[in-house]
């Protein structure tokens, strides 16, 4: 059963005549993790602010689990946990005190505050920092406190704006695992610059550029674009291109600057085995064969560049 947790309809935000975000629509179902990609200033944070009710959209509407953000902001906000770009932390409090305040303000009943704080600390690996002043924590731990305050009331939708900035690799791995875990019961929207991260944790990807959605779809579609139907082979005694083209399925061959050959094949074909056999029989000296992957970066640049050219 899929239930829609986030519905954004034609979100538009105009800053002084310029459209920072224009006509962004998407939906998110329960249990999905949505990755939000885009170059700097593309409108990621603005969109997130509108989703969380920090900014009123110039046009369009946001619904969280069917509750309209503009008409019933309190009910809608209760369903959201939000970590902005700069984690909102009261530095004069200890971690425990701050999380208790966050829980209280998000309407956790006073009986459950202790449990909620404990649970959030465990999930974000903060148990040993309970009594420390937030002011004295390192950037990475402050970021974790930011995430902890976003999930403390067990919201339906968790919105994280660049959650892994400033964390060390081990912490990043932990946080990614946490995001995956959150994706099980909640919906998660996260924005990031780190492209492999999207591939690792997200089910859905959106790429936004100059305020417009240029890509919106499942991560698999993006992966397909990435893998393409290409092989890279390395041969010590490469034959003429014509010979290679005779192998079943091969559509075109080009020589790469580093001496390797890139072979394109028709969709649905798998010429790898035939190529290897041919290479062995005819003594081409095969030393390498790989599927050719366009990096996610390339896909990303392609998508955002296309838009600029159009």
């Amino acid at each position: 059963m899929t239930t829609l947790t986030v519905e954004a309809n034609n979100l538009t935000r105009i800053y002084g005549g310029r459209e920072a975000v224009s006509d962004v629509s998407f939906t998110l179902s329960k249990g999905e993790v949505l990755g939000f990609l885009g170059p700097n200033g593309a409108g990621k944070s603005t969109t997130m602010k509108m989703l969380t009710g920090n900014l009123a959209p110039s046009k369009g509407s946001v619904k969280i689990c069917g509750v309209d953000m503009i008409e019933n902001p309190k009910e809608a906000k209760a369903l959201i946990g939000y970590l902005p770009e700069t984690p909102p932390l009261y530095r004069e409090f200890t971690v425990d005190e701050f999380l208790a305040i966050a829980a209280r303000l998000h309407g956790v009943s006073s009986k459950h505050i202790k449990v909620a704080v404990q649970r959030a600390k465990e999930r974000c690996g903060l148990t040993e920092m309970s009594k420390r002043l937030i002011e004295n924590l390192s950037k990475g731990y402050q970021q974790r406190v930011g995430i902890a305050q976003a999930i403390i009331h067990n919201p339906m939708v968790v919105i994280l704006d660049e959650p892994t900035v400033g964390l060390d690799p081990i912490q990043i791995r932990d946080i990614r695992a946490l995001i995956k875990e959150l994706g099980g019961e909640h919906s998660v929207i996260l924005s990031t610059h780190i492209l492999p991260e999207v591939e690792m944790v997200c089910d859905h990807v959106q790429i936004i550029d100059k305020g417009k959605l240029v890509f919106n779809g499942s991560i698999d579609i993006l992966k397909q674009q990435r893998h393409g139907n290409k092989l890279v082979i390395g041969l010590n005694n490469p034959p003429a291109h014509d010979v290679l083209l005779k192998v079943a399925g091969v559509e075109s061959v080009e020589t790469l600057p580093n001496g390797l050959l890139r072979v394109r094949y028709a969709a649905g074909q798998a010429p790898a085995e035939a190529l290897v056999q041919a290479a062995v029989k005819q003594g081409w000296g095969l030393h390498q064969i790989n599927p050719d992957q366009t990096s996610l970066e390339d896909v990303f640049v392609q998508l955002t560049y296309q838009d600029a050219a159009a």
């Binding site: 969380t52 009710g53 906000k77 209760a78 932390l89 309407g107």
Partner: protein, 248 residues
Amino acid sequence: MILKVARKELNSVFASPMGWVILALLQFAFGTYFLNGVNEYFEVMSGAIRPAERTGVTMFVGQSVFGLASFVMLFSVPLLSMRLISEERRSNTLTFLFSAPLSLTEIVLGKFIGLVSFLSILVAMIAVMLCTLNAWADVDFGYLFSNVLGLWLLVASFSAMGLYFSSLTAQPVVAAIITFVALFGLLIVDRFLTGDEASVANYLSLMHHFQPFARGLIDTADVAYFLLFIITFLTLTVRRLDADRLRG
């Protein structure tokens, strides 16, 4: 929910030594004035004055303590109120409150009540201090009550104005200076236009409305003035924060 925000504000004052230091220093100042007042009362009233001209001890000591209190509050309220919103704006914690299920009115009222409760501690301590006179004299509780009420309303008005100016800027110090100048202006505006009792300046002046309380007179017109003053500035603050959300 309003009280939860207020509680957060109070916690934040007492999270650092600042809250305690302010309480201690101000109490020290009031205590000194109180002591001086009691001492002087004996000197001044010791037979030199005809009985008809003598004033009660409550009024004599009260005048000096409450006079000092209203003056000290003029400086301390802007310093306390300056960080309420501007500090949150500067350290990006305003988003935390905006994303919580709270209406803007609840946020503003919560912050206002938080600050006023802290200041009420001070006012209550002054009241208790003056009540101790009752141990050896008959305290005029009516006079005391009107003064306490007056001071409390004055302090609440200061807070409301401080809160508004704090919402205008991201620099706490700027907020403090503007608040102080505006309060000072409102306190002394009637001095410039003396003589004409019906002058508009008299209606605007905070001091003009505070003085009846200091004399022991509770006038509903003055109470209404302070309440309107508070409501006006709290409404303006809500509007200002709403503009943030709309204009971004």
